[in-house]
């Protein structure tokens, strides 16, 4: 699906559409909305929205079409959604993030985009990203891109995570990445979305696609 910008530029419809596929890993505490993300990002195919606890790796995909620098792309985003339960939290009837990472290690060789997910209405889930970024860096590659995703934007009145905290968090994550990969360049964008009313989901879908294109060196 082309965005509004495409409709205003009819000349590009004759351009070749480049295709790309990338792996996206949403991580963060349990119950922040990681499993629901692919379903709400997918505008074209209505996947059933899953609300529940992930006890194993979940797989999903989203196809996005976008135009970047006058080039049309079709990006398939392959989502790998691990559970948000940490090993030390005590797991009941499921597997922890660490166990899943060990089991599916072969799949994490080329993670293109890591979505560091948290709830805007739960400060602890944001603070815990300090734990998650360290886990993410263990399985990422030097080209992996990172996006901070705050969910529950529809509950903005109960917001616990301030804009200043998010700005500082974005800088902090960039510092962590550069600490491990000194050559890494780029930004850690932060987006606030609502899964309930799909606010800013299109922006996130495009941001993930751009992340995949950057990671695959298609877009520099």
């Amino acid at each position: 699906m082309f965005d509004m910008e495409t409709e205003n530029k009819p000349q590009i419809q004759y351009m070749e559409v480049k295709k790309a596929t990338g792996y996206v890993l949403p991580i963060g505490n349990g119950a922040v909305g990681k499993s629901t993300l692919p379903a709400v990002l997918d505008d074209q195919f209505s996947q059933p929205v899953k609300i529940g606890k992930s006890v194993n790796m979940e797989f999903s995909y989203v196809v996005d079409r976008l135009i970047v620098r006058e080039q049309a792309f079709q990006v398939t985003q392959q989502y790998l959604v691990p559970p948000g339960q940490k090993e030390n939290e005590g797991i009941s009837g499921g597997r922890s993030f660490e166990q899943i990472i060990k089991m599916y290690q072969f799949m994490f060789k080329q993670i293109d985009v890591i979505l560091l997910s948290y709830k805007l209405v739960e400060l602890d889930s944001f603070n815990d990203l300090e734990f998650w970024i360290n886990r993410a860096l263990e399985i990422s590659s030097p080209s992996t891109q990172y996006i901070l995703v705050g969910t529950h934007l529809d509950m903005d009145a109960s917001r616990e995570v301030s804009h200043e905290m998010i700005t500082n968090g974005s800088k902090f994550i960039k510092d962590c990445i550069i600490n491990k990969y000194p050559e890494w360049q780029g930004k850690v964008p932060s987006l606030e979305i609502s899964i309930t009313d799909k606010q800013n989901t299109a922006l996130l879908r495009n941001a993930v696609s751009v992340g995949i294109l950057r990671s695959r060196k298609i877009l520099i």
């Binding site: 944001f126 603070n127 300090e130 616990e160 200043e164 905290m165 500082n168 902090f172 994550i173």
Partner: protein, 235 residues
Amino acid sequence: MQLFKENPKNPGVIIFQNSSIIGMISREAFFETTGKRYGVELFLGKPIKAMLKSFSVTPLILPESTRISMAIHEALKRDSHTVYDPIIVQKFTGEFRIIDILSLFVAENQILLTLHNQYVDTRLSGLPLTNEEAIKRFLKFTGIRQLQEPRVLINLFAVICDHCGSSVNYTIADIVRSHPQLSMGVEIIEKMGSRSYVLYVRHKCGQEIREIPVYHDNELQLRSLRPSRLVETYV
């Protein structure tokens, strides 16, 4: 008998002989003795000394300077059948009075309640610090040097207790005063490149003292609160 009937609150009578005490008959003991079969006939018209012969117990006499708790302690040391007998109090003037054991218990209970309330107040309001002193202590503990809005330090914040539903007001100084060990009342969280504080707001919640963990951001603005936790229960 007439004496007891005229003064229903009279706990007993002291019996003197040549201005020295030879005994005491409590109201309960008197009616117990006269209430027995032929009890009235046995003692009616006879001097009180006759009744005293049936009680071989020496009364407990304490000076009026004796502490209430000590008086109760001494009274409870008596035999089980006389443990609730009244006590004779010797005044500084040399006069004697009788006090029943229940009055002593009530007085002791009053003292304990007062002490307890004082303790609860101390636990809640804590250290006798002025606002300025408390704020200085807070700034030293947290290492805060600059705030965009320094007035936040004297702001009155309000949160709702999840346990009793009442509104709880507090200032930064209140937190400092209620926590002599400040590390128990202020938690500094440094994560994701930002600093936030958890202030534990003490609050008298019915028969309990509870603490409400309240999150403040790096500018000390109130951001959120968590369910309260019990500090102690009292009766």
